[in-house]
């Protein structure tokens, strides 16, 4: 049947819908040109007949813009030098803090290109996010920065009802893993111990003072810079939560998907395999889980000890509370915290449609697309089938009014 049809690639163009800038082919078939390709469903849906789907809101993109642009670094006119920050792991959470601290010390920030190459530098089988740090550090070395800022991040803020807000063991020890992997880098790595948890702030400030000393400044310069950077980060957090609160009110009216997982996996566009785009191009809103203020409804379990699994737990509470919210959570192969908490999440989500994905250095777009697509198909089917009773809309209305 298809043997008589001639296909011809007329030309290609770069899609500007997101940072992935996918190459789209314009294929000529029987005199008609069809756009084809891309990581999301944008062009697939254009080809489909029927009513056109309006793209959802990509709050992940807005989040990244807030962290890296609105609250990111400044370019100083007369800097003392450059400090590189690897575009990996905790930079995707604490960039406003890191960048402000470096600027306050009088240095310009060089944010690494996120890099998937140089992963062969790893000295042991470690997880994908840690592999990416190797690539990012390698990029910074090539760019000849004066220092590389790679702290030991031990603990984040501890939400109410929990006893810890830990990072995982690999994130907490990444500076040493990097030191072991690269030759002659030791003195260039600045790695203070950092804890954003209330009882660790005093220690953190002390440690930031030591950083200043290590680069030839007075300790108090580092202490002052640390205080300023922390308050800058806190301001970002408050504004970000407030932004989330406001947005959520309008988003609850239509089906939305919360993307939950480690921020360094689910939010960077080159790591998340265009997951938010895949969701928004199908008409759903994509909400980052760390944008959702903690509900603190005393549902949490104190021994859920990691910050990011607490965020997932919180997202699940939202899903259970608001009927238009769904969750897609993403993990990586050999992620310790997720492997333990998975059972709890699964149990909490009983009766809900959810999607669980794993991303690794070998994850291919096609398989990922199929899985996300299947999840969204189920949501679509569900919404098509359900003739919503009156009380449902009353509930939605009530929630929105709240």
């Amino acid at each position: 049947m298809f043997s008589n049809i001639t296909f011809k690639i007329k030309n290609t163009f770069r899609c500007k819908a997101c940072e992935n800038n996918c190459e789209i082919q314009r294929i000529l078939i029987r005199g008609k040109v069809y756009p084809f390709g891309g990581l999301c469903s944008k062009y697939k849906l254009l080809r489909q007949k029927g009513p056109k789907i309006k793209e959802g809101l990509d709050l992940v993109e807005m989040r990244n813009d807030m962290i890296f642009n609105q609250f990111g670094d400044e370019v100083l006119k007369n800097p003392r030098g450059t400090v590189g920050i690897p575009m990996a792991l905790t930079s995707h959470i604490l960039y406003p803090f890191y960048a402000k601290f470096i600027n306050e010390l009088g240095y310009n920030v060089v944010l690494s290109n996120s890099s998937k190459i140089r992963n062969y530098k790893t000295k042991a089988p470690i997880c994908y996010p840690c592999e990416l740090v190797h690539g990012a550090v390698s990029d910074l070395i090539n760019r000849n920065v004066d220092y590389i800022f790679l702290p030991y991040l031990i603990e984040m803020e501890i939400p109410k009802n929990y006893i810890h807000g830990y990072m995982c063991p690999s994130t907490a020890t990444i500076p040493d893993i990097i030191r072991a992997a690269f030759v002659n880098i030791d003195e260039r790595i600045l790695s203070p111990h950092i804890g954003i948890a209330e009882d660790l702030i005093e220690m953190t400030i002390k440690e930031l003072g030591k950083v200043a000393k290590a680069i030839g400044l007075e300790e108090k310069v580092g202490i002052n810079a640390g205080v300023v950077a922390l308050s800058h980060y806190k301001m970002f957090r408050e504004i970000y939560y407030e932004f989330g609160r406001k947005k959520l009110k309008s988003l609850l009216k239509k089906p939305s998907v919360i993307i939950a997982g480690r921020p360094y996996v689910v939010y960077p566009p080159d790591v998340n395999i265009a997951l938010p785009r895949k969701i928004v191009s199908r008409g759903y809103n994509a909400i980052p889980s760390d944008m959702l203020p903690f509900l603190n409804e005393d549902l949490s379990h104190t021994r859920n000890v990691w910050r990011f699994t607490q965020e997932i737990d919180n997202a699940i509470h939202y899903v259970k509370k608001y009927p238009n919210l769904y969750i897609c959570f993403v993990s990586c192969f050999s992620c310790g915290p997720d492997s333990t908490m998975y059972h709890y999440f699964r149990q909490q989500l009983e009766g809900h449609t959810f999607c669980y994905l794993e991303i690794d250095s070998h994850t291919a777009h096609a398989g990922f697309e199929t899985r996300v697509g299947a999840f969204l198909d189920i949501l679509e089917e569900r919404h098509r089938k359900i003739t919503k009773p009156e009380h449902y809309w009353k509930m939605v209305k009530k929630v929105v009014e709240e």
Partner: protein, 467 residues
Amino acid sequence: MTEIAQFQDSEKEKVRQAQFSEDYKFIIDSDGKKVEYDDPRIVYVNPEPRNPYGKQLVINLYAKYNRKIRISDETDAKVLQYAKRICSGRECLASVAIAGGVLKDIYEFRGEGEITLYRTPIDQHGPCQNGAWPVLWKTFAQRLKLKNAIFSTFPKFSNKYLGLNADLIAMENINFLIGHYLTEAKNALYCVAENRTMALERFEEITKEFIENVKEERKTLNTGLIGWAKNIAKIPISKNVEEVPKVLIFGGLNLMFDHYPIEEFFLEKGIISKVVDIGESMSLILAESTIRLGFKRGILSPKEQFNEELLESPEFYEKDKKETKRARRNRNTMKFLNSQCKVYRKLIGKSGLLFDSFVDFIDLFEEGNNYVSSNSFTETPLIVGRYLHSIKEGIYDGLINLGTFNCQPAMNSQAIIRPLANKNDIPYAAIDCEGPWISTNQRRLLETIAIQAKRVRENKNKMKQEI
């Protein structure tokens, strides 16, 4: 891997879980009735495997206190098959093996009408996976729907040792420690005996007699071990323990579940294999509160964190009374544990078969801290410290860093040690197992280490002769 699911598991048939009373003074069973801890229906279960001598000593010890305990056998394929019923396979081997041990106990050993307290080998607050074991087991318990079973329990000061007492818990750990040293002696005998079969038979007889004597209270642990060592020393050997090549198998908690095939492999090659001293991991668990206390105050080095003057200072106490008290208590327990390690090493050492030396945990931690932060609250610095110390000490002729799938501290230690090992002459291999078995490739790697270790020992012996 992806899972898109609408779960059908019904939670309708909920079973009332047995639980501890709020003040931990008694148990409330699944029928809501109060049960005292000395109730004969109560059985404590250690789902993690322990060495056979320590295991027997501990069972007898519990009997003396009118308590019952079951301790798992070695982790094997069957245990892991059981685990598959509730685990996803993504968890670390320790999680999986413990789950398998619990299920095996439920299906094969648990008696009718029994109130079972399933214990966990450690109670750490993370960031390792074991930090969330209580959550994991709360979930599993709801799925298992088992009456009169409490999971993931750990006897400690704050829960009144779950109806046991501090002395019993201390003695339990000492007995496991003794079992560990007896195994060290047995492995040495395996390689130095004049007649291996006869020597090992005699070893078992003498050890059985020692355990029976302690059980029947004919002898104390100390007097029993003095007699044991005298008798063992009479077994004919063909060479000194010192002359024989030795390999240390070290790593994190996962060692408990998967060291057997590697230990056996080296023994078969005539190399004395030793699994790293369990006293070191016991100390790590006790150390957590002190590390955190110091860390909060910006004190980062282990030596300073464990500085007694600092811990005893009123300034420390006034700022954080509860935490300081806990840290002091644990520090004292660590000191007691150290003293016991030395006492029993000395007693068992009279047999002439012990070769390892006692090293203070804080020294190991300090050494490890030079390469990986000890404030990450994981085993990584201890593993790295152990490697560095073993290189300096020169007792061992080969070092095996045994990790398992999804054990982050073990994998991280492998990343840190690799470049250090490249600079040293002692043969080293990092192995990651997914269970207590080794692949063909791993076997080849171990063979290389075995040959190299023999050469290293030969050279050491030659040098000694020349001197």
